[in-house]
Subunit: 221 residues, 2 copies
């Protein structure tokens, strides 16, 4: 198991070494920046814009952060730490695979609201952040790998236990589930017909039982 923040300690440390001391002010600025990153993209967001929105001047931001990258770094780490912690909790339940997988789907959708901005940034700016020189954002890939292992293990367990059909590829199935959940940030808005819980149940229904009515078509293989 790999710690998102690369510390030896297993405690949930919040920040990369280069960052300044913890503070509410700082957290507020991070949240604020995250919203703009999500709306316009990381690169299109200027430090002047972030500062404006916070009611200060751009130079003042550098009292809190040593660079724009540090801000987005903190946005993403916070999300990933929360997500992985919740997945781990679900896995510890030792329930049957279908139950665990359902719960993981619910966890995914439930992060859409609290972490909407972070998820949006992660999806839109992933390629760019990964293309930056240095290994600063390598933890993105490590976190992704760990999450993938969790999901794929459950799918395989479910196949071994006879709960899931065996003519689907576990990794491929995981990717499709993952994509379906996260991409929902693009269109999900709180206050619509369904909340994230409803979204999750809707998806679980289709995922497990399919869109077709009536008799199951024969299972290949």
């Amino acid at each position: 198991m790999e710690d998102v923040n690369q510390r030896k300690s297993s405690t949930a440390v919040k920040r990369a070494p280069a960052a300044g001391p913890a503070s509410e002010r700082r957290d507020h600025l991070v949240k604020l920046a995250a919203e703009i990153f999500a709306r316009k993209g990381f690169q299109a967001t200027t430090v002047r814009e972030i500062a404006n929105e916070a009611g200060i001047l751009s130079g003042s931001l550098y009292h809190h952060f040593d660079s724009k990258e540090t801000i987005v770094d903190e946005v993403l780490r916070t999300f990933l730490e929360d997500l992985i912690a919740r997945y781990r909790a679900a896995l510890e339940s030792d329930a049957d695979p279908r139950t665990v997988l359902s719960e993981m789907v619910r966890i995914g959708f439930s992060t859409l609201e609290p972490h909407r901005a972070a998820i949006t940034v992660m999806q839109n700016d992933w390629n760019y952040l990964r293309s930056l020189p240095g290994d600063r954002f390598d933890y993105l890939v490590r976190a992704e790998d760990e999450v993938e292992r969790m999901w794929v293990d459950q799918i395989k367990r479910g196949q071994a236990a006879g709960q899931f059909r065996t003519d689907v590829d576990p990794k491929l199935t995981y990717r499709m589930i993952r994509d379906t959940i996260w991409v929902a940030v693009r269109w999900f808005r709180p206050g619509g017909r369904l909340n994230t819980g409803g979204l999750a149940e809707h998806y679980i229904t289709v995922l497990f039982d399919g869109l077709a009515t009536g008799a199951r078509t024969s299972q290949k293989s």
Copy 2:
């Protein structure tokens, strides 16, 4: 029905009015730029990079295009025109909803290879392009709306005909299908275990019949 390129003529015109005359050279430059846009993001891609890759200097690009936006515009239009044309053809078959929907899924996946770069740009830079001043990229939303209508109509037809379960929301279901297909550009690479055709069949299986084995759980409502 709305024409992607907003012309009165229904012929498939390839370019916005501001752009220069058609040419193979120009098309080559567009394809080349699309790859870089996809890799690094639209904003992070400089005209110097595009020109470099083409073996010319940045100033020379402006002989072919009047701005960087014009290039990405052409990338996206080309993809959307092709996609919508193919959807329309599928709808004209007048087959039953399940068959039509399957075919639309296949069409979606089949665009992953030829239009990989355009799809990537569309996903990563959609928010940014939409946030630009002016109505230049409004056609993105119009195209999206038209496609949504096509899908949702088929899902509703399928429900009315008894082929699809009625306890799912057509629009929501469409969105999840759409997302699952397009986001696959993030990880799909030609030459893997499955080609896009295989991907499509895999997804159609899970979509219609579900991941679970054995007896169907009861259909709610």
